[in-house]
């Protein structure tokens, strides 16, 4: 119990900010940028303070309206949740700089509406990181989903159709989750996660419990686009306005993976998943391996940068799900570290894609030719993001892969290890294909001694898009070098008990 409200303000700031943006944005569009950035800047700083506090004092429990749990709504901020809070707010803040610029061009005159939803989505994500209540989790999940539907539908062309498919799939996922929670409620009479966990502890294993668990898991897998439930994601993310995808792509799937960890370890227990259902555990790791391989292979078939990235996201989801289900602390550490790293990598790459789209207007592979000359800084940052995806040290991506593979070796899951290596190799092919296109100008004709190179003008993206991109790229290297302290200082604490 605490009386400090700081963590609540992290949730409330974007919520209030959303409606303030809507109200004041009507009066003048000039209000939008300072309000959004101010709110998110505040949230980021507050999240940092909260994380430090949680690491020092341990898990914080907060009751809304002073109704004591399990009757009232409880917010639980454990180290993992606090880490997610910081990740969400920091990534959102970074992405916002770029969004502000690209939305100004893509949706002129409707910035205030866009950023209302944008901030609501962030508030929803923050809530997901905070909540300690299974039903609230459903509501917040739907808040994030509904705003995402809206944001995606704001894109051009086929975006509304992609959004509609996402609505159908996303709602099925949410309904499954709701149904699972219904079973849990029938069994325990409670909705508070800690309370349910307590009651389940003394409960016999029944078919109903397994049903509940299965429904919740499948529901979340749909939401996180775990192969083969991923079909909605590539269209939805690649057709969304770039201002929306720079924020949605890094955060949505990662937060859902976090939710899976929450459900698995705060409601159910490692003993339940990994010992009582060891066969299922092994099966899911194999499915994760399959997910990685298939999604990587599908990514190879894409001819558009953003679509390719979306398939990589699907593969990365396989990494994380597999890591969690390896059922050892290395795999878990890897999965959590990969949540952080993958959010940053995806942010970096999508920011680069947004910057490229801003200048070239298209992300087809053909339009990427000669980009190293036209946009050297953007491409340098893109290259760092690509290296991180491939897993080249010392970028961040290498270290989470390190833990994941180590977990796979420890668990004797060689299929998963092979899948991770395969995916690294495929990523190398994917990104070097792009680097090659961007590095060679026209490709076919030899022009080794052509002095006309200097004629290509440098046309970098505007500073508002470039600065966050460079920041994200530097963050990848910084997190890579700092992954030792990060793991020992934060993630080891965040690994749920039972390992």
């Amino acid at each position: 119990m605490t009386t400090s409200n700081l963590h609540l303000y992290i949730l409330a700031a974007p919520l209030l900010g959303a409606f303030a943006v809507n109200l004041l944005g009507r009066l003048s569009r000039r209000w939008v940028a300072p309000l959004t950035l101010g709110v998110l800047g505040y949230a980021t700083i507050a999240a940092l303070v909260v994380l430090a506090r949680v690491l020092r004092d341990g898990t914080i429990s907060y009751t809304i309206g002073n109704w004591r749990p399990p009757f009232g709504i409880e917010l639980v901020i454990d180290p993992l949740g606090a880490l997610m809070l910081l990740l969400i707010s920091a990534v959102a803040l970074t992405a916002t700089f770029s969004s502000l610029t690209s939305i100004e061009r893509e949706l002129p005159g409707r910035e205030h509406l866009f950023f209302t939803m944008y901030l609501l989505l962030i508030a929803g994500l923050t809530g997901l990181a905070l909540t300690g209540d299974a039903f609230n989790l459903y509501v917040l999940l739907e808040i994030t989903s509904i705003t995402t539907y809206g944001l995606i539908a704001m894109g051009r062309g086929r975006a509304p159709l992609a959004s509609f498919n996402y609505i159908i799939m996303g709602s099925i996922g949410a309904c499954f989750y709701l149904l699972g929670v219904g079973y849990l409620y029938l069994l325990t009479g409670s909705l508070n996660m800690a309370d349910i966990a307590n009651i389940l502890h003394g409960l016999q294993e029944t078919a109903a419990l397994a049903t509940a668990f299965a429904f919740i898991m499948v529901g979340l897998w749909v939401k996180m686009a775990f192969f083969p439930l991923h079909s909605w994601l590539p269209n939805a993310y690649s057709l969304a306005p770039s201002g929306a995808s720079v924020m949605i792509a890094p955060l949505m799937t990662k937060v859902t993976v976090f939710l899976m960890i929450r459900v698995m370890f705060s409601i159910f227990s490692p003993e339940y998943e990994f010992i009582q259902h060891a066969g299922v555990q092994s099966l899911i790791v194999w499915v994760a391996a399959l997910a990685i391989v298939c999604a990587s292979a599908l990514a190879l078939a894409q001819r558009d940068l953003k679509r390719m990235l979306t398939y990589i996201i699907v593969a990365e989801v396989g990494y994380m799900v597999g890591g969690v289900w390896l059922a050892n602390s290395q795999g878990m550490t890897g999965a959590i570290l990969h949540i952080v790293n993958d959010a940053l990598m995806t942010l970096c790459l999508f920011l680069a894609a947004a910057a490229i789209a801003y200048r070239t207007g298209s992300l087809g592979f053909d339009s990427l030719q000669g980009l190293y000359r036209r946009m050297p800084i953007t491409m340098a940052a893109f290259t760092i993001g690509a290296f991180s995806m491939i897993g080249v040290p010392p970028t961040a991506g290498f270290f989470s892969k390190w833990y994941l593979i180590l977990g796979g070796i420890e668990a004797n899951q060689w299929g998963y290890v092979a899948a991770l290596l395969f995916s690294s190799l495929v990523n190398a092919v994917l990104f070097f294909r792009i680097i090659e296109i961007a590095y060679f100008r026209t490709g076919e004709v030899g022009h080794g001694h052509d002095h006309g190179h200097a004629a290509v003008r440098v046309e970098e993206a505007p500073l508002m898009m470039l600065a966050p991109l460079v920041l994200a790229a530097l963050a990848l290297i910084a997190v890579g070098f700092g992954s030792g302290p990060l793991v020992s200082g934060v993630i080891r604490l965040a690994v749920p008990g039972g390992f």
Partner: protein
């Protein structure tokens, strides 16, 4: 930005004197009832959501009985949006105020510091304020949902 009133098409569906007169008479009472439901929501069946729906329905009824234009003349899009936003801000604002005044979020007894009253009384008043906020928001959303759909999405607002 062109206001939607200028563009909303006149549709003479169901335009009949009897219905229009009846609706004209009914709407104030419906709205009054909506307010009643909102105001009594915190200790009897009802509340902001239900009341908000009733209020929203009254606008929809005008729109159905007359046409979109008439409805929008009475209650413009802009007012609607402002009211909706204000409603949410009221709701979250009250909760935040509790937190800012040193209590927990939505712990209305903390509001004692503004007007010294019995904390129990404040709990009652606090939830009332929240209900009002919810009611406003729901009303606005109901109305704008109908407008958006009935105008085939030609409103300036929306997606």
């Amino acid at each position: 930005m062109k206001q939607v009133q200028d563009r909303a098409q006149t549709r003479a569906v169901g335009e009949s004197l009897i219905i229009q007169t009846a609706v004209r008479l009914m709407v104030p009472f419906i709205q009054l009832f909506g307010l009643y439901v909102i105001v009594h929501g915190h200790y009897s069946p009802g509340g902001g959501f239900q009341g908000g729906v009733i209020l929203g329905a009254s606008f929809i009824l005008t729109a159905v009985a007359f046409d979109l234009q008439t409805s929008l003349k009475r209650f413009t899009e802009r007012t609607n949006a402002i009211m909706g936003n204000a409603g949410v801000l009221l709701y979250t604002g009250v909760g935040m105020l509790c937190a800012l005044l040193g209590g927990l979020f939505l712990d209305y007894s903390a509001l004692v510091r503004i007007i010294p009253m019995d904390p129990v009384e404040w709990r009652s008043l606090g939830i009332f304020l929240v209900e009002v906020g919810v009611g406003l928001a729901v009303m606005s959303i109901m109305a704008s949902l109908y407008w958006d759909l009935s105008s085939r999405g030609e409103l300036d607002e929306g997606l």
